[in-house]
Protein backbone atom coordinates (compact mmCIF):
# COMPACT_ATOMS: atom_id res chain seq x y z
CA UNK A 1 0.00 0.00 0.00
CA UNK A 2 1.33 3.34 -0.98
CA UNK A 3 1.50 6.09 1.58
CA UNK A 4 4.17 8.63 2.49
CA UNK A 5 5.63 9.20 5.92
CA UNK A 6 4.04 12.63 6.21
CA UNK A 7 0.62 11.24 5.40
CA UNK A 8 1.14 8.62 8.10
CA UNK A 9 2.00 11.37 10.59
CA UNK A 10 -1.09 13.33 9.61
CA UNK A 11 -3.31 10.31 10.12
CA UNK A 12 -1.70 9.41 13.44
CA UNK A 13 -2.13 12.92 14.79
CA UNK A 14 -5.74 12.94 13.65
CA UNK A 15 -6.24 9.69 15.51
CA UNK A 16 -4.87 11.11 18.71
CA UNK A 17 -7.26 14.06 18.43
CA UNK A 18 -10.08 11.57 17.90
CA UNK A 19 -10.85 13.09 14.51
CA UNK A 20 -10.26 10.86 11.52
CA UNK A 21 -9.96 11.84 7.88
CA UNK A 22 -13.64 11.33 7.14
CA UNK A 23 -14.75 12.94 10.38
CA UNK A 24 -15.28 9.75 12.37
CA UNK A 25 -14.39 9.21 15.98
CA UNK A 26 -12.13 6.38 17.03
CA UNK A 27 -14.87 3.84 17.67
CA UNK A 28 -17.28 4.83 14.96
CA UNK A 29 -18.02 2.28 12.31
CA UNK A 30 -18.87 3.22 8.75
CA UNK A 31 -22.36 2.21 7.64
CA UNK A 32 -22.73 -1.51 7.05
CA UNK A 33 -24.85 -2.34 4.02
CA UNK A 34 -25.87 -5.96 3.50
CA UNK A 35 -28.06 -8.10 1.33
CA UNK A 36 -28.60 -11.80 0.85
CA UNK A 37 -29.97 -14.25 -1.71
CA UNK A 38 -28.12 -12.68 -4.59
CA UNK A 39 -27.57 -15.79 -6.65
CA UNK A 40 -30.32 -18.38 -6.68
CA UNK A 41 -28.21 -21.21 -8.03
CA UNK A 42 -25.96 -21.55 -5.00
CA UNK A 43 -27.04 -22.65 -1.56
CA UNK A 44 -26.49 -19.28 0.07
CA UNK A 45 -25.03 -15.90 -0.81
CA UNK A 46 -24.56 -12.49 0.70
CA UNK A 47 -22.86 -9.21 0.02
CA UNK A 48 -21.59 -6.68 2.54
CA UNK A 49 -20.34 -3.16 1.85
CA UNK A 50 -18.65 -0.86 4.34
CA UNK A 51 -17.31 2.36 2.90
CA UNK A 52 -15.49 1.35 -0.24
CA UNK A 53 -14.97 -2.24 0.88
CA UNK A 54 -17.21 -4.68 -0.95
CA UNK A 55 -17.23 -8.42 -0.26
CA UNK A 56 -19.30 -11.19 -1.84
CA UNK A 57 -19.78 -14.56 -0.21
CA UNK A 58 -21.21 -17.71 -1.78
CA UNK A 59 -21.96 -20.89 0.12
CA UNK A 60 -22.30 -24.24 -1.52
CA UNK A 61 -23.69 -27.02 0.66
CA UNK A 62 -22.95 -30.58 -0.32
CA UNK A 63 -23.31 -33.95 1.31
CA UNK A 64 -19.96 -35.41 2.21
CA UNK A 65 -18.26 -37.82 4.55
CA UNK A 66 -18.64 -37.00 8.24
CA UNK A 67 -15.49 -35.69 9.86
CA UNK A 68 -14.14 -35.23 13.32
CA UNK A 69 -12.90 -37.69 15.91
CA UNK A 70 -16.06 -39.73 16.09
CA UNK A 71 -17.28 -38.95 12.61
CA UNK A 72 -19.94 -36.75 14.06
CA UNK A 73 -19.15 -33.43 12.51
CA UNK A 74 -19.72 -31.61 9.27
CA UNK A 75 -17.17 -29.33 7.69
CA UNK A 76 -17.00 -25.64 6.85
CA UNK A 77 -14.08 -24.60 4.63
CA UNK A 78 -13.21 -21.17 3.34
CA UNK A 79 -11.59 -20.03 0.13
CA UNK A 80 -10.86 -16.38 -0.23
CA UNK A 81 -9.62 -14.28 -3.03
CA UNK A 82 -9.11 -10.65 -3.66
CA UNK A 83 -10.52 -10.24 -7.10
CA UNK A 84 -7.99 -8.39 -9.14
CA UNK A 85 -10.37 -5.52 -9.56
CA UNK A 86 -9.56 -4.16 -6.13
CA UNK A 87 -6.88 -1.90 -7.52
CA UNK A 88 -4.35 -3.09 -5.02
CA UNK A 89 -0.74 -3.65 -5.91
CA UNK A 90 -1.00 -6.33 -8.52
CA UNK A 91 1.96 -8.41 -7.49
CA UNK A 92 0.93 -12.02 -7.37
CA UNK A 93 2.82 -12.54 -4.16
CA UNK A 94 0.97 -9.81 -2.32
CA UNK A 95 -2.42 -11.02 -3.39
CA UNK A 96 -1.57 -14.61 -2.51
CA UNK A 97 -0.55 -13.46 0.94
CA UNK A 98 -3.73 -11.51 1.39
CA UNK A 99 -5.83 -14.42 0.22
CA UNK A 100 -4.08 -16.77 2.62
CA UNK A 101 -4.47 -14.39 5.57
CA UNK A 102 -8.16 -14.01 4.96
CA UNK A 103 -8.69 -17.74 4.57
CA UNK A 104 -6.69 -18.63 7.64
CA UNK A 105 -8.45 -16.11 9.83
CA UNK A 106 -11.89 -17.28 8.76
CA UNK A 107 -10.98 -20.93 9.06
CA UNK A 108 -9.65 -20.31 12.55
CA UNK A 109 -12.78 -18.44 13.59
CA UNK A 110 -15.04 -21.27 12.53
CA UNK A 111 -12.90 -24.11 13.77
CA UNK A 112 -13.67 -23.30 17.38
CA UNK A 113 -16.31 -25.62 18.69
CA UNK A 114 -18.34 -22.81 20.20
CA UNK A 115 -18.31 -20.77 17.05
CA UNK A 116 -19.91 -23.25 14.76
CA UNK A 117 -21.68 -26.27 16.01
CA UNK A 118 -20.38 -28.69 13.46
CA UNK A 119 -22.18 -31.57 15.08
CA UNK A 120 -25.47 -30.19 13.95
CA UNK A 121 -24.31 -30.62 10.39
CA UNK A 122 -23.99 -34.36 10.79
CA UNK A 123 -26.77 -36.42 9.29
CA UNK A 124 -25.63 -39.98 9.69
CA UNK A 125 -23.05 -40.62 12.35
CA UNK A 126 -19.76 -41.71 10.92
CA UNK A 127 -20.97 -41.47 7.41
CA UNK A 128 -22.74 -38.48 6.02
CA UNK A 129 -22.66 -34.83 6.99
CA UNK A 130 -23.06 -31.47 5.33
CA UNK A 131 -19.93 -29.94 3.83
CA UNK A 132 -20.10 -26.20 3.40
CA UNK A 133 -17.78 -24.65 0.85
CA UNK A 134 -17.66 -20.94 1.47
CA UNK A 135 -16.13 -18.71 -1.18
CA UNK A 136 -15.22 -15.17 -0.22
CA UNK A 137 -14.56 -12.71 -3.03
CA UNK A 138 -13.27 -9.26 -2.21
CA UNK A 139 -14.58 -6.99 -4.97
CA UNK A 140 -13.15 -3.78 -3.55
CA UNK A 141 -10.86 -3.10 -0.64
CA UNK A 142 -11.04 0.14 1.33
CA UNK A 143 -9.80 -1.13 4.64
CA UNK A 144 -11.15 -3.59 7.19
CA UNK A 145 -11.71 -6.38 4.72
CA UNK A 146 -11.68 -9.12 7.34
CA UNK A 147 -14.54 -7.64 9.36
CA UNK A 148 -16.67 -6.99 6.30
CA UNK A 149 -16.00 -10.48 4.98
CA UNK A 150 -17.11 -11.93 8.29
CA UNK A 151 -20.40 -10.00 8.15
CA UNK A 152 -21.12 -11.36 4.70
CA UNK A 153 -20.10 -14.86 5.78
CA UNK A 154 -22.46 -14.75 8.73
CA UNK A 155 -25.32 -13.56 6.58
CA UNK A 156 -24.65 -16.10 3.87
CA UNK A 157 -24.45 -19.03 6.28
CA UNK A 158 -27.66 -18.04 7.99
CA UNK A 159 -29.51 -17.76 4.72
CA UNK A 160 -28.19 -20.98 3.21
CA UNK A 161 -30.98 -23.17 1.93
CA UNK A 162 -30.58 -26.89 1.46
CA UNK A 163 -32.86 -29.62 0.21
CA UNK A 164 -34.89 -31.39 2.77
CA UNK A 165 -33.11 -34.56 3.86
CA UNK A 166 -34.86 -37.42 5.54
CA UNK A 167 -33.14 -40.17 7.43
CA UNK A 168 -34.84 -43.47 6.85
CA UNK A 169 -34.13 -45.87 9.67
CA UNK A 170 -32.99 -49.19 8.26
CA UNK A 171 -34.67 -52.47 8.99
CA UNK A 172 -32.87 -54.95 11.21
CA UNK A 173 -29.42 -55.54 9.93
CA UNK A 174 -29.69 -52.83 7.33
CA UNK A 175 -28.10 -49.45 7.70
CA UNK A 176 -29.98 -46.18 7.70
CA UNK A 177 -30.46 -44.40 4.44
CA UNK A 178 -30.80 -40.82 3.38
CA UNK A 179 -33.37 -39.53 1.03
CA UNK A 180 -32.95 -36.13 -0.51
CA UNK A 181 -36.04 -34.25 -1.49
CA UNK A 182 -35.50 -32.63 -4.88
CA UNK A 183 -38.40 -30.28 -4.71
CA UNK A 184 -37.03 -26.73 -4.72
CA UNK A 185 -39.94 -25.60 -2.62
CA UNK A 186 -38.99 -27.91 0.21
CA UNK A 187 -35.62 -26.29 0.75
CA UNK A 188 -35.02 -25.11 4.24
CA UNK A 189 -32.51 -23.08 6.17
CA UNK A 190 -29.52 -25.12 7.14
CA UNK A 191 -28.09 -23.27 10.09
CA UNK A 192 -29.84 -21.70 12.96
CA UNK A 193 -26.73 -21.13 14.98
CA UNK A 194 -24.76 -18.09 15.93
CA UNK A 195 -21.83 -17.58 13.56
CA UNK A 196 -19.40 -15.03 15.00
CA UNK A 197 -18.01 -11.98 13.26
CA UNK A 198 -14.63 -10.31 13.36
CA UNK A 199 -14.18 -6.84 14.80
CA UNK A 200 -10.72 -5.44 14.19
CA UNK A 201 -9.00 -2.69 16.11
CA UNK A 202 -5.95 -0.91 14.73
CA UNK A 203 -3.28 0.93 16.63
CA UNK A 204 -2.49 4.30 15.07
CA UNK A 205 0.17 6.11 16.96
CA UNK A 206 -0.99 5.47 20.48
CA UNK A 207 -4.70 5.31 19.81
CA UNK A 208 -6.83 2.30 18.98
CA UNK A 209 -9.62 2.54 16.45
CA UNK A 210 -12.35 0.50 14.86
CA UNK A 211 -12.99 0.01 11.16
CA UNK A 212 -9.81 1.37 9.64
CA UNK A 213 -9.93 2.76 6.12
CA UNK A 214 -7.27 1.79 3.59
CA UNK A 215 -5.03 4.75 4.43
CA UNK A 216 -5.39 4.07 8.12
CA UNK A 217 -4.46 0.43 7.63
CA UNK A 218 -1.38 1.51 5.72
CA UNK A 219 -0.42 3.68 8.72
CA UNK A 220 -1.17 1.31 11.57
CA UNK A 221 1.47 -0.48 13.60
CA UNK A 222 -0.66 -3.26 15.05
CA UNK A 223 -4.03 -4.78 14.37
CA UNK A 224 -6.06 -7.12 16.50
CA UNK A 225 -9.02 -8.93 15.02
CA UNK A 226 -11.40 -10.18 17.65
CA UNK A 227 -13.98 -12.85 16.93
CA UNK A 228 -17.24 -11.98 18.65
CA UNK A 229 -20.57 -13.79 18.84
CA UNK A 230 -24.00 -12.45 19.66
CA UNK A 231 -23.50 -12.84 23.40
CA UNK A 232 -20.38 -10.75 23.29
CA UNK A 233 -18.11 -13.71 23.92
CA UNK A 234 -14.68 -13.59 22.38
CA UNK A 235 -14.10 -16.51 20.03
CA UNK A 236 -10.58 -15.93 18.88
CA UNK A 237 -8.06 -13.16 18.43
CA UNK A 238 -5.71 -12.74 15.50
CA UNK A 239 -2.91 -10.20 15.44
CA UNK A 240 -1.44 -8.56 12.38
CA UNK A 241 1.06 -5.79 11.92
CA UNK A 242 4.71 -5.50 12.82
CA UNK A 243 4.39 -3.37 15.92
CA UNK A 244 4.41 -4.49 19.50
CA UNK A 245 1.61 -3.38 21.77
CA UNK A 246 1.17 -2.60 25.40
CA UNK A 247 -1.32 -4.78 27.10
CA UNK A 248 -2.41 -2.18 29.67
CA UNK A 249 -5.46 -0.30 28.59
CA UNK A 250 -6.05 -2.78 25.82
CA UNK A 251 -8.71 -4.48 27.90
CA UNK A 252 -11.11 -1.58 27.52
CA UNK A 253 -10.54 -1.46 23.79
CA UNK A 254 -11.27 -5.16 23.45
CA UNK A 255 -14.45 -4.75 25.43
CA UNK A 256 -15.51 -1.98 23.10
CA UNK A 257 -14.76 -4.20 20.13
CA UNK A 258 -16.84 -6.98 21.62
CA UNK A 259 -19.64 -4.51 22.25
CA UNK A 260 -19.51 -3.33 18.66
CA UNK A 261 -19.66 -6.94 17.53
CA UNK A 262 -22.84 -7.46 19.48
CA UNK A 263 -24.40 -4.34 17.97
CA UNK A 264 -23.48 -5.29 14.44
CA UNK A 265 -24.77 -8.82 14.83
CA UNK A 266 -28.01 -7.41 16.16
CA UNK A 267 -28.20 -5.12 13.15
CA UNK A 268 -27.48 -7.96 10.72
CA UNK A 269 -30.16 -10.00 12.37
CA UNK A 270 -32.73 -7.24 11.99
CA UNK A 271 -31.91 -6.74 8.33
CA UNK A 272 -32.29 -10.42 7.58
CA UNK A 273 -35.52 -10.62 9.48
CA UNK A 274 -36.93 -7.70 7.53
CA UNK A 275 -36.52 -9.72 4.31
CA UNK A 276 -35.53 -6.65 2.41
CA UNK A 277 -35.76 -6.85 -1.35
CA UNK A 278 -32.57 -8.07 -2.98
CA UNK A 279 -30.84 -5.43 -5.05
CA UNK A 280 -27.97 -7.53 -6.36
CA UNK A 281 -25.96 -7.01 -9.49
CA UNK A 282 -28.69 -5.69 -11.65
CA UNK A 283 -29.37 -2.49 -9.76
Amino acid sequence: MHISSTEVDYIALGASSDFRADGRHAFEFRDVIVESHLVPSVSGSSRAQVGGTDVLVYVKAELGPAQGKNGTEGVITFTAHYSSVTGLDNEVRTSNMLNAELEESLNRLFSEKQAANLERLCLLEGRVAWTLLVDVTVLKADGNVLDVASFAVRNALLSTLVPHVEVIRGEEGEADEIEVDDEPASRRLLLEGDPPVFISVCLLGSKWMLDASQDEEASMTSKLSVGVNSSGKVCGIVKAGEGALEWDGLGDTLKTAANMGVKIIEGLRKVQASRAETVGFFA
Binding site: E7, K255, V271, V279
Partner: protein
Protein backbone atom coordinates in the same frame (compact mmCIF):
# COMPACT_ATOMS: atom_id res chain seq x y z
CA UNK B 1 -27.56 -11.10 26.78
CA UNK B 2 -24.58 -8.86 27.03
CA UNK B 3 -22.15 -9.91 29.71
CA UNK B 4 -20.29 -6.66 29.57
CA UNK B 5 -22.98 -4.43 31.05
CA UNK B 6 -20.68 -2.76 33.51
CA UNK B 7 -18.39 -1.38 30.83
CA UNK B 8 -18.34 2.30 30.16
CA UNK B 9 -19.46 2.42 26.60
CA UNK B 10 -17.88 5.23 24.65
CA UNK B 11 -20.58 7.60 23.46
CA UNK B 12 -19.21 7.37 19.97
CA UNK B 13 -19.29 3.60 19.70
CA UNK B 14 -21.97 3.56 17.03
CA UNK B 15 -22.81 1.72 13.87
CA UNK B 16 -25.66 1.69 11.39
CA UNK B 17 -26.52 -1.60 9.70
CA UNK B 18 -28.99 -1.55 6.87
CA UNK B 19 -30.17 -3.40 3.82
CA UNK B 20 -28.94 -2.45 0.36
CA UNK B 21 -31.20 -0.08 -1.50
CA UNK B 22 -31.37 0.85 -5.07
CA UNK B 23 -29.40 4.04 -5.51
CA UNK B 24 -30.60 6.62 -7.90
CA UNK B 25 -29.11 6.71 -11.34
CA UNK B 26 -25.68 8.24 -11.39
CA UNK B 27 -26.36 11.84 -12.23
CA UNK B 28 -24.16 13.41 -14.80
CA UNK B 29 -23.56 17.01 -15.65
CA UNK B 30 -25.35 16.63 -18.90
CA UNK B 31 -26.35 20.14 -19.82
CA UNK B 32 -24.11 20.31 -22.85
CA UNK B 33 -24.46 16.74 -24.02
CA UNK B 34 -28.14 16.35 -24.70
CA UNK B 35 -29.09 15.88 -28.30
CA UNK B 36 -25.65 14.84 -29.42
CA UNK B 37 -24.89 11.65 -31.19
CA UNK B 38 -23.66 8.70 -29.17
CA UNK B 39 -21.64 5.95 -30.78
CA UNK B 40 -19.98 2.78 -29.59
CA UNK B 41 -16.76 1.21 -30.78
CA UNK B 42 -17.07 -0.17 -34.27
CA UNK B 43 -19.88 2.15 -35.33
CA UNK B 44 -19.61 3.91 -38.62
CA UNK B 45 -19.75 7.71 -38.45
CA UNK B 46 -21.42 9.66 -41.18
CA UNK B 47 -19.00 12.16 -42.73
CA UNK B 48 -18.79 14.60 -45.57
CA UNK B 49 -15.91 14.27 -48.01
CA UNK B 50 -12.87 16.22 -46.97
CA UNK B 51 -13.21 15.35 -43.32
CA UNK B 52 -10.20 15.23 -41.03
CA UNK B 53 -9.90 12.27 -38.70
CA UNK B 54 -9.62 13.11 -35.01
CA UNK B 55 -9.15 11.20 -31.77
CA UNK B 56 -11.15 8.08 -31.12
CA UNK B 57 -11.59 7.13 -34.77
CA UNK B 58 -9.94 5.23 -37.58
CA UNK B 59 -10.44 5.12 -41.32
CA UNK B 60 -11.06 1.90 -43.13
CA UNK B 61 -11.78 1.73 -46.84
CA UNK B 62 -12.69 5.38 -46.84
CA UNK B 63 -15.19 4.98 -44.01
CA UNK B 64 -14.81 6.60 -40.61
CA UNK B 65 -15.21 4.13 -37.75
CA UNK B 66 -15.43 4.98 -34.05
CA UNK B 67 -12.93 3.19 -31.83
CA UNK B 68 -14.40 4.19 -28.47
CA UNK B 69 -17.85 4.75 -27.10
CA UNK B 70 -18.74 8.41 -26.76
CA UNK B 71 -20.12 11.53 -28.35
CA UNK B 72 -19.22 12.59 -31.88
CA UNK B 73 -17.53 15.98 -31.94
CA UNK B 74 -17.49 17.93 -35.14
CA UNK B 75 -15.36 21.06 -35.19
CA UNK B 76 -15.12 22.41 -38.74
CA UNK B 77 -13.84 19.39 -40.64
CA UNK B 78 -12.35 17.62 -37.65
CA UNK B 79 -14.43 14.65 -36.60
CA UNK B 80 -13.56 12.89 -33.35
CA UNK B 81 -15.19 10.79 -30.67
CA UNK B 82 -15.05 12.02 -27.12
CA UNK B 83 -15.59 9.36 -24.45
CA UNK B 84 -17.27 10.38 -21.23
CA UNK B 85 -14.86 8.71 -18.88
CA UNK B 86 -11.25 8.36 -19.85
CA UNK B 87 -7.88 8.02 -18.28
CA UNK B 88 -6.01 11.22 -17.54
CA UNK B 89 -4.29 12.52 -20.65
CA UNK B 90 -1.69 15.15 -19.77
CA UNK B 91 -1.19 18.41 -21.57
CA UNK B 92 1.74 20.77 -21.33
CA UNK B 93 1.20 23.21 -18.52
CA UNK B 94 -0.99 20.91 -16.45
CA UNK B 95 -0.36 20.82 -12.75
CA UNK B 96 -0.19 17.27 -11.44
CA UNK B 97 0.30 15.65 -8.07
CA UNK B 98 2.17 12.39 -8.22
CA UNK B 99 3.51 9.71 -5.96
CA UNK B 100 7.17 8.70 -6.24
CA UNK B 101 7.62 5.10 -7.33
CA UNK B 102 11.31 5.11 -8.06
CA UNK B 103 14.39 7.15 -7.20
CA UNK B 104 17.25 6.60 -9.58
CA UNK B 105 20.47 8.26 -10.57
CA UNK B 106 19.27 11.67 -11.47
CA UNK B 107 15.52 11.46 -11.65
CA UNK B 108 12.36 10.60 -9.82
CA UNK B 109 9.67 8.49 -11.42
CA UNK B 110 6.12 9.29 -10.39
CA UNK B 111 2.77 7.65 -10.71
CA UNK B 112 0.32 10.31 -11.84
CA UNK B 113 -2.44 7.90 -12.76
CA UNK B 114 -1.86 8.39 -16.48
CA UNK B 115 -1.00 5.84 -19.11
CA UNK B 116 2.66 6.19 -18.37
CA UNK B 117 4.74 7.26 -15.44
CA UNK B 118 5.97 10.81 -15.21
CA UNK B 119 9.62 11.72 -14.80
CA UNK B 120 11.03 14.59 -12.77
CA UNK B 121 14.69 15.13 -13.53
CA UNK B 122 16.95 16.32 -10.77
CA UNK B 123 17.90 19.20 -13.02
CA UNK B 124 14.26 20.19 -13.34
CA UNK B 125 13.72 20.28 -9.60
CA UNK B 126 14.12 23.39 -7.48
CA UNK B 127 16.84 22.93 -4.86
CA UNK B 128 17.70 24.46 -1.52
CA UNK B 129 20.31 27.14 -1.56
CA UNK B 130 19.00 28.96 -4.58
CA UNK B 131 17.06 28.13 -7.65
CA UNK B 132 19.71 28.08 -10.29
CA UNK B 133 22.94 26.23 -9.77
CA UNK B 134 24.57 23.26 -11.38
CA UNK B 135 23.58 19.92 -9.94
CA UNK B 136 26.51 18.26 -8.25
CA UNK B 137 27.30 14.64 -7.60
CA UNK B 138 26.39 15.22 -3.99
CA UNK B 139 22.96 16.33 -5.07
CA UNK B 140 22.50 13.01 -6.79
CA UNK B 141 23.49 11.14 -3.67
CA UNK B 142 21.18 13.24 -1.59
CA UNK B 143 18.11 12.83 -3.75
CA UNK B 144 16.40 10.66 -1.21
CA UNK B 145 16.93 13.23 1.47
CA UNK B 146 14.83 15.59 -0.60
CA UNK B 147 12.16 13.32 -1.95
CA UNK B 148 11.95 9.58 -1.45
CA UNK B 149 9.70 6.73 -2.51
CA UNK B 150 5.99 7.13 -1.69
CA UNK B 151 6.30 10.91 -1.24
CA UNK B 152 3.79 13.15 -2.92
CA UNK B 153 4.98 15.98 -5.17
CA UNK B 154 3.22 18.75 -7.02
CA UNK B 155 4.78 19.68 -10.35
CA UNK B 156 3.99 21.00 -13.77
CA UNK B 157 4.00 19.11 -17.05
CA UNK B 158 6.92 20.49 -19.01
CA UNK B 159 7.06 18.26 -22.04
CA UNK B 160 5.28 15.33 -23.63
CA UNK B 161 7.53 12.88 -25.36
CA UNK B 162 6.59 11.23 -28.61
CA UNK B 163 6.19 7.85 -27.00
CA UNK B 164 3.82 9.27 -24.42
CA UNK B 165 6.39 9.91 -21.71
CA UNK B 166 5.67 12.83 -19.39
CA UNK B 167 8.42 15.18 -18.27
CA UNK B 168 7.75 17.31 -15.20
CA UNK B 169 9.42 20.31 -13.69
CA UNK B 170 8.97 22.43 -10.60
CA UNK B 171 8.92 25.89 -12.02
CA UNK B 172 8.74 27.86 -8.81
CA UNK B 173 8.98 27.42 -5.09
CA UNK B 174 5.30 26.76 -4.68
CA UNK B 175 5.79 23.31 -6.23
CA UNK B 176 7.58 20.45 -4.54
CA UNK B 177 7.10 17.87 -1.86
CA UNK B 178 3.75 17.87 -0.10
CA UNK B 179 3.45 17.36 3.61
CA UNK B 180 0.91 18.08 6.31
CA UNK B 181 -2.33 17.83 4.44
CA UNK B 182 -4.85 15.49 2.93
CA UNK B 183 -4.93 13.89 -0.51
CA UNK B 184 -8.26 13.33 -2.25
CA UNK B 185 -8.44 11.31 -5.45
CA UNK B 186 -11.21 11.84 -7.99
CA UNK B 187 -11.89 11.09 -11.64
CA UNK B 188 -9.60 13.33 -13.65
CA UNK B 189 -12.30 14.16 -16.19
CA UNK B 190 -14.22 16.00 -13.49
CA UNK B 191 -11.49 18.60 -12.96
CA UNK B 192 -11.88 21.28 -15.53
CA UNK B 193 -8.76 22.91 -16.86
CA UNK B 194 -8.73 26.27 -15.13
CA UNK B 195 -6.20 29.03 -14.64
CA UNK B 196 -5.77 28.91 -10.90
CA UNK B 197 -4.73 25.49 -9.74
CA UNK B 198 -3.46 26.72 -6.40
CA UNK B 199 -6.38 28.27 -4.58
CA UNK B 200 -7.41 29.25 -1.13
CA UNK B 201 -11.00 28.25 -0.62
CA UNK B 202 -13.40 30.52 1.29
CA UNK B 203 -13.15 28.28 4.36
CA UNK B 204 -9.45 29.15 4.56
CA UNK B 205 -8.05 25.89 3.40
CA UNK B 206 -5.55 25.76 0.58
CA UNK B 207 -6.25 23.46 -2.31
CA UNK B 208 -4.12 22.29 -5.21
CA UNK B 209 -6.24 20.96 -8.06
CA UNK B 210 -4.09 18.47 -9.93
CA UNK B 211 -5.36 17.96 -13.47
CA UNK B 212 -4.77 14.26 -13.01
CA UNK B 213 -7.54 14.03 -10.45
CA UNK B 214 -5.40 14.36 -7.33
CA UNK B 215 -6.42 17.19 -5.02
CA UNK B 216 -4.30 18.33 -2.07
CA UNK B 217 -5.89 20.11 0.87
CA UNK B 218 -3.83 21.84 3.53
CA UNK B 219 -4.17 24.48 6.19
CA UNK B 220 -0.79 26.01 5.41
CA UNK B 221 0.02 27.38 2.04
CA UNK B 222 2.07 24.86 0.09
CA UNK B 223 5.06 27.05 -0.33
CA UNK B 224 8.57 26.17 0.51
CA UNK B 225 10.99 28.66 1.95
CA UNK B 226 14.43 28.22 0.50
CA UNK B 227 15.78 26.77 3.73
CA UNK B 228 12.85 24.46 4.28
CA UNK B 229 13.54 22.02 1.51
CA UNK B 230 15.27 19.66 3.89
CA UNK B 231 13.26 16.93 5.54
CA UNK B 232 13.98 17.90 9.12
CA UNK B 233 12.26 21.24 9.30
CA UNK B 234 9.13 21.55 11.31
CA UNK B 235 6.03 22.19 9.32
CA UNK B 236 3.31 23.59 11.54
CA UNK B 237 0.81 20.87 12.35
CA UNK B 238 -2.78 21.25 11.23
CA UNK B 239 -5.10 22.53 13.93
CA UNK B 240 -8.11 20.51 14.97
CA UNK B 241 -10.42 23.10 13.47
CA UNK B 242 -8.40 22.96 10.29
CA UNK B 243 -8.84 19.20 10.22
CA UNK B 244 -12.59 19.62 10.50
CA UNK B 245 -12.70 21.95 7.56
CA UNK B 246 -10.41 19.73 5.52
CA UNK B 247 -12.56 16.74 6.35
CA UNK B 248 -15.75 18.48 5.28
CA UNK B 249 -14.09 19.58 2.05
CA UNK B 250 -12.81 16.09 1.43
CA UNK B 251 -16.26 14.62 1.89
CA UNK B 252 -17.83 17.30 -0.31
CA UNK B 253 -15.34 16.49 -3.06
CA UNK B 254 -15.99 12.77 -2.75
CA UNK B 255 -19.72 13.31 -3.02
CA UNK B 256 -19.31 15.31 -6.23
CA UNK B 257 -17.02 12.56 -7.53
CA UNK B 258 -19.54 9.87 -6.73
CA UNK B 259 -22.25 11.81 -8.57
CA UNK B 260 -19.92 12.49 -11.53
CA UNK B 261 -20.28 16.25 -11.23
CA UNK B 262 -17.58 18.73 -12.14
CA UNK B 263 -15.28 19.61 -9.31
CA UNK B 264 -14.11 23.14 -8.76
CA UNK B 265 -14.19 25.70 -6.00
CA UNK B 266 -17.78 26.74 -6.56
CA UNK B 267 -19.33 23.28 -6.65
CA UNK B 268 -17.27 22.15 -3.68
CA UNK B 269 -18.26 25.14 -1.59
CA UNK B 270 -21.91 24.70 -2.55
CA UNK B 271 -21.93 21.20 -1.10
CA UNK B 272 -19.81 22.35 1.84
CA UNK B 273 -22.06 25.23 2.82
CA UNK B 274 -25.25 23.27 2.29
CA UNK B 275 -23.98 20.53 4.56
CA UNK B 276 -23.07 23.05 7.24
CA UNK B 277 -26.42 24.74 7.03
CA UNK B 278 -28.15 21.39 7.32
CA UNK B 279 -26.28 20.88 10.56
CA UNK B 280 -24.60 17.72 9.34
CA UNK B 281 -21.53 16.28 10.96
CA UNK B 282 -18.65 15.71 8.56
CA UNK B 283 -19.08 11.96 8.62
CA UNK B 284 -22.84 12.08 8.26
CA UNK B 285 -22.51 13.71 4.85
CA UNK B 286 -21.29 10.49 3.35
CA UNK B 287 -24.38 8.40 4.06
CA UNK B 288 -26.06 7.39 0.83
CA UNK B 289 -29.44 8.97 1.46
CA UNK B 290 -27.87 12.11 2.90
CA UNK B 291 -25.59 12.40 -0.10
CA UNK B 292 -28.48 12.32 -2.50
CA UNK B 293 -30.47 14.84 -0.53
CA UNK B 294 -27.49 17.19 -0.34
CA UNK B 295 -27.05 17.17 -4.08
CA UNK B 296 -30.77 17.68 -4.52
CA UNK B 297 -30.64 20.76 -2.29
CA UNK B 298 -27.59 22.13 -4.03
CA UNK B 299 -29.30 21.73 -7.38
CA UNK B 300 -32.35 23.55 -6.16
CA UNK B 301 -30.27 26.55 -5.32
CA UNK B 302 -29.98 26.89 -9.05
CA UNK B 303 -26.28 26.52 -9.36
CA UNK B 304 -26.34 23.62 -11.81
Amino acid sequence: MNEMVDVEVDDHCTVVVRAATRSRTEDVDRSSELGQMCVVAGDQIHVEPGFVRGRGTLTESGLLIATVGGVVDRVNKLVSVRPLVSRYTPEIGDVVIGRVVEVSQNRWKLDVDARQEAVLMLSAMNLPGGAQRRRTYEDELNMRSLIKEEDLISAEVQELKQDGGIALHTRSMKYGRLSEGQLVRVKSALIKRQKKRFQMLPCEIHAIFGNNGYIWLSEEEPRKELEEQGRNTETPKTSLDGRRRISRLRNSILILNEMSMTIHAQTIMDVYITSEQAGLREFEMLRQNVREQLIERVRNRGNF
